[in-house]
């Protein structure tokens, strides 16, 4: 019996080792391929996620809502306290609302006088957050809208309050949003009263760092941070948050988007603008293309001359 088992093991073991070796080589091969040609493998990943995660959909949403409900009950305990707080805030808000209305009217009047043309209003698609990244070192969420809904890589997402992240990876029915807190996230921003440009660099903490700031002296905690639209990455002027100082006196941004409860995200459809590369393109029409096309254009030009 024992000998029988041993001979069996003698055959099984090498086969098993070859199998494991082949699998390890395949996996490391995938890793190398991903390192060389990342977009292709990431597309495969998006397709795979697109297949797997929505099949959990029926359970993901109810369980998330249930946990939310329990957390909700905990907050009911201090309902009256919250009520007082809200009343106080509401009084302040009313004052602000008056100010905002007056400013809006004034602004409309001035715009009308100046004949200013603003950017066309952004339209958006709203998606439900299906899943998060599942890793403590990555900050991203999966939305239930994808290529089917016309989502394109690179579009900005907000939660209605402020910028939340950008689309990176689109499957047929799902798309992944890299949040501003992810350590790979870099967003060009403008800091508002001083108008300085900077980069917002996520570092896996709740408040991303401000980097490449030309003149930090002009920036104070509490300044508004908005997206700058540099590099054609994002529409300009989306609220990101407020400047804050961390204990090590580095400038960070307290995000306006409520990351505690991201249930829905708006994906802003940003369409390609007309690109102006140099001053010449702005002033004169594009120069006529050389030789062969110029010949073809000549008869037309002479005809035009005859008519005139």
């Amino acid at each position: 019996m024992a000998r029988d088992r041993n001979t069996q093991v003698d055959y099984a073991r090498p086969v098993r080792h070859i199998l494991i070796g082949v699998m390890v080589v395949l996996m490391l091969g995938t890793f190398l391929l991903w390192r060389i040609d990342s977009p292709r493998v990431e597309r495969f990943r998006a397709t795979l996620v697109d297949r797997v995660v929505p099949s959990f959909d029926w359970a993901l949403l109810p369980v998330t809502r249930l946990v939310g409900l329990v957390e909700g009950f905990q907050s009911y305990a201090r309902l009256s306290e919250q009520n007082q707080e809200l009343r106080r805030e509401l009084r302040q808000m009313k004052a602000w609302k008056e100010a905002a209305l007056q400013l809006e009217q004034e602004n409309a009047k001035l715009l009308d006088l100046n004949k200013v043309r603003l950017d066309p209003k952004l339209t958006y698609v709203t998606g439900v957050v299906l899943a998060d990244s599942g890793s403590p070192f990555r900050q991203s969420v999966l939305l239930n809208v994808g290529a089917r809904d016309g989502i394109i890589d690179g579009w900005a997402t907000t939660d209605g309050l402020g910028l939340a992240g950008r689309i990176s990876g689109v499957g047929k029915n799902t798309s992944r949003v890299i949040l501003l807190t992810d350590s790979n996230s870099r967003i060009p921003v403008t800091i508002q009263p001083s108008g300085q440009q900077a980069m917002l660099a996520g570092d896996n903490t709740a408040a991303p760092l401000i980097e490449f700031l030309e003149n930090p002296d002009q920036v104070r905690p509490g300044d508004r941070v908005v997206s700058s639209g540099d590099g054609g990455l994002f529409p300009a002027g989306l609220l990101v948050g407020q400047v804050a100082l961390d204990p090590e006196r580095r400038l960070r941004v307290r995000l306006a988007a409520d990351y505690e409860r991201l249930e829905f995200l708006r994906v802003l459809r940003s369409h390609a603008h007309e690109v102006i590369r140099d001053a010449g393109g702005l002033i004169a029409p594009p120069p006529p293309p050389p030789a062969p096309v110029a010949e073809a254009a000549e008869p037309a030009a002479s005809e035009g001359g005859a008519d005139g």
């Binding site: 890793f31 795979l48 959990f56």
Partner: protein
């Protein structure tokens, strides 16, 4: 006629896949989008290491490879790297148990600790060599420590809840180590 041992083995295999799916599912739940200050334990790795040492006949290399690769893909890691390293670590732990009938839990925990830390350092080093943007070694080691503290609990649940324990040689003959 189906051999009852085979039926039982496939039952356990299904249970293993279901448990792994539940763990992945729990990690994907969008409960809190704030970055955590402390990385939680990698319970899937605990599950794999606990089961591969108790019932190597259930957790076949092919099943293990497919599961680890899928988790790499779903959890947004560099595809294949963690899976390959974890597979090697799991097979090392499996081979420790060929022949030896009983191993005290402390020794097992020491081996698992060695495997998890070697796995973490190798993962970090490989990401450094290939210039993959990755979390720092201190964060990864922190997660490894949490994983190790969770390991005895996972073993306990597997043994008490699901009756996953090491087979004696006679049981292995009838119940089916290969």
């Amino acid at each position: 006629m189906v051999d009852p041992a085979t039926t039982q083995r496939w039952g356990y295999r299904l249970l293993f896949v279901a448990l792994a799916a539940v763990l992945l599912f729990l990690r994907l739940l969008p409960l809190d989008m704030m970055p955590a200050t402390l990385p939680g334990p990698d319970l899937l790795l605990c599950l794999v290491f606990a089961w591969v040492q108790r019932r190597p006949d259930i957790v076949t290399p092919l099943l293990l490879g497919a599961l680890l690769f899928l988790s790499d893909m779903l959890l947004g890691r560099a595809p294949g790297l963690w899976a390959a390293l974890a597979l090697i670590a799991a097979e090392f732990l499996r081979s420790r148990h060929q022949g030896s009938a009983e191993m005290p839990f402390a020794v097992e925990l020491a081996f698992v600790a060695g495997a998890v830390i070697a796995l973490t350092v190798a993962y970090w080093a490989a990401q450094g060599i290939f210039a993959v943007p990755a979390p720092g070694l201190s964060d990864l080691l922190m997660q490894a420590v949490f994983t190790l503290t969770a390991y005895p609990a996972v073993v306990g649940v597997s043994q008490l809840g699901f009756n996953i324990r090491r087979l004696s040689p006679t049981e292995a003959d009838s119940g089916g180590a290969r």
